[in-house]
């Protein structure tokens, strides 16, 4: 056993956003993330899925240091990110990179591909002279499949397709050899036929450089593809909590938590016979409770088809039900 601390560890993380209630009302809190634990080692793939508003982006942004946690701890190589020395903090910011959803707004329209990619290289002292920069940027472009690089070096974002732009964004993220990339819906804005290409590119970097990923998506097919091919985990979020986490194919084909079961039964599949034969697990209610006051007990009890009295009173803990497959549900613990 190695004694080295994990690359990233999150303990009982909470992120509450204050919101005003009316003109005279006091402040209420949106509990976007409400008690999350996770561990990421080098080369790990951790995929977060869940309905809109369940807290995926907030969790991701908090881990990469863009949002300040309300409670709990985020440890980078064993040290709380809020207590890092200046040097350690710089190392953390360099080693943890971000890919946003929108390849259109995440590139500066007035800068060429070369300028965009040179910036981090200069900033982190990876290359300085123009010759070195051109060489290194060209290498990055080849790596992300923009070939021949000469054709792309001096293009502006508007001269690139969505898929090509997202490749530039990926090149920027990997230019500093990060240990972890947080990718928030990186393929949502990409043409359907090109999505797998971007995912394969990210997976290739995992293989070559042992890059770890925190991958966020609302698309279960994409989550499955990425986590299954990368040998990683899928975690399902509901109202600020992880309710199930496990190996990709286990979560998709043999889900434990009632919420995951409902989701899997609802997703259409590209096979007319299968898709129509699927038996939908009916929810008690379609409405997601407000994250400002989530239901007491198990947060899913207002919609869960299997809820029992205990579910309204006590919150179920996340327990290992099968090997490496965890769920937070009273059906599996007492």
């Amino acid at each position: 056993m190695s004694s080295e601390p994990p690359l990233m560890e999150v303990r009982n993380l909470r992120v509450y956003y204050p919101v005003r209630k009316g003109i005279f009302g006091g402040v209420a809190y949106v509990k976007a993330v409400d008690g999350v634990d996770l561990v990421l080692n080098k080369g790990d793939i951790f995929t977060l899925v869940g309905e809109s508003g369940c807290g995926k982006t907030t969790l991701g942004k908090t881990i990469v240091g863009l949002v300040r946690p309300t409670g709990g701890e985020i440890l980078y190589k064993g040290k709380n990110i809020l207590k890092l020395s200046k040097r350690e903090y710089l190392e953390y910011r360099r080693n943890v990179q971000i890919i946003h959803q929108d390849p259109f707004s995440s590139l500066n329209p007035t800068k060429t591909v070369f300028q965009t990619l040179s910036f981090p290289l200069k900033r982190w002292g990876i290359a300085r002279s123009r010759r070195d920069l051109i060489e290194k940027v060209s290498e990055l472009l080849s790596l992300v499949g923009l070939e021949p690089p000469e054709d792309f070096l001096f293009k502006y974002p508007h001269q690139l397709s969505g898929g090509q732009r997202q490749r530039v964004v990926v090149a920027r993220a990997i230019s500093v050899n990060p240990e972890l990339i947080m990718a928030d819906e990186p393929i949502t804005m990409i043409d359907v036929s090109l999505r797998i290409g971007i995912l394969d590119l990210l997976l290739d970097l995992q293989k070559r450089f042992n890059t770890a990923y925190l991958f966020i998506t609302h698309d279960f097919g994409a989550a499955r593809y990425f986590a299954a091919k990368g040998g990683g985990l899928i975690a399902v979020m509901y109202l600020g909590k992880i309710v199930e986490v496990g190996p990709a194919e286990d979560v998709i084909h043999d889900p434990l938590h009632p919420y995951t079961k409902v989701l899997m039964s609802a997703v259409p599949v590209p096979d007319p016979e299968l898709s129509r034969k699927k038996k939908l697990l009916k929810l008690k209610s379609l409405d997601i409770p407000s994250p400002m006051n989530p239901p007491p007990g198990c947060r899913f009890n207002t919609r869960c088809p299997f809820s029992k009295p205990k579910c309204e009173k006590e919150e179920p803990p996340l327990v290992e039900v099968r090997k490496k497959h965890w769920a937070a549900c009273w059906l599996y613990t007492s």
Partner: protein, 323 residues
């Protein structure tokens, strides 16, 4: 066999841009049969919305129908009808729920006023009839009519707004509904609910539907027949069971493999190499040849003919042309 309610023939729609004309829909033939759900699937930019807007002649000013016909009930050619004739067809015969219509509801109008306004704009002034019909439709779509009619759009969730739009489109008892990406902006569970509602609605009213989406799994779930579009062209048409089981067009085959889905082996999924063509200067011949693994010389020069492989299964590809 049910008759064709709508027949699109050799349709060509161009958008004027500074570089030239975007050939958004190019020489498209497509029929919609009475009482069916026709799925139209294609990637972003393949011309689906343009086709929908052209059918009701709701294209923006920069667009023009350069060629072709759109026959409705075998009589009217919508492509060449005057505005007053189109007014009789829109909403009363064919209703369109445009893409991204969720944000198109007027935020200052209560839902009930949306129904009344729509009716008034089409010459229906009987307030009582409108409210009764609206309530009936809303209940059919499992919404509480009283509460919803009194609400403002911002008080409703995305799924509720989508259902209001469907009810609104059905207000004047049209024969056909065109739904452009009706579930794209919705969560999985809301999408499932809307899909099941539409199936239920279809079973109860036998209304004809053209259902447009970029999500091939949604087509598998809801449509009777499907058309696959790519770069302004229809590549393959057939009943969904046939096309999913035995896709014949190289693009349909590649598209199906490129979807990361919950079924099938992840090892067999792969993206389509290359990128979508520029529709101002599309490649000559077959528009898919720059990305097609089977491209032959003739594909790069001549447009492939459409052949009927089995009754109702149409493919536009040189591989299947009898030469």
């Amino acid at each position: 066999m049910p008759r064709n309610l709508l027949e699109v023939r050799s349709l060509r729609v161009l958008y004027k841009v500074h570089r030239g004309d975007v050939k958004a829909v190019d020489n498209v033939d497509l029929s919609v049969r009475e009482g069916e759900i026709l799925g139209v699937v294609g990637e972003s930019g393949s011309g689906k919305s343009t086709l929908a807007l052209a059918i009701l002649r709701l294209l923006p000013k920069t667009a023009r129908i350069a060629n072709g016909h759109i026959y409705y009930k075998g009589e009217v050619d919508l492509a060449h009808s005057p505005e007053n004739k189109l007014k009789e067809v829109r909403w009363k015969e064919i209703s369109l729920i445009p893409q991204a219509a969720l944000n198109a509801l007027n935020p200052t109008l209560k839902i009930v006023d949306h129904f009344l306004e729509t009716a008034r704009a089409h010459g229906v002034h009987d307030r009582k009839w409108v409210i009764e019909r609206a309530s009936k439709l809303l209940s059919l779509l499992r919404l509480e009519p009283d509460r919803v009619l009194k609400s403002y759009p911002h008080e409703l969730s995305g799924g509720m707004k989508q259902r209001v739009l469907i009810a609104l489109a059905m207000l004047l008892e049209p024969t056909m509904l065109i739904l452009d990406e009706p579930t794209t902006a919705l969560d999985v569970l809301t999408q499932r609910f809307i899909l099941d509602l539409l199936k239920d609605l279809h079973a109860k009213t036998n209304i004809t539907m053209m259902f447009i989406t970029h999500d091939i799994a949604v087509i598998a779930d809801i449509a009777d027949r499907m058309a696959v579009m790519y770069a302004g062209k229809v590549m393959e048409v057939g009943d969904v069971y046939t096309v999913f089981k035995e896709p014949k067009h190289p693009y349909s085959i590649a598209l199906m493999k490129s979807i990361p889905s919950l079924t099938g082996s992840v090892e067999e999924m792969r993206s389509i190499p290359g990128t979508l063509p520029d529709l101002v200067n599309p490649p000559p011949g077959c528009r898919f040849w720059p990305r097609c693994p089977h491209a032959m010389d003739i594909c790069k020069k001549e447009e492939p003919p459409t052949v009927e492989l089995k009754p109702g299964h149409l493919v536009s590809c040189w591989l299947h042309a009898r030469r």
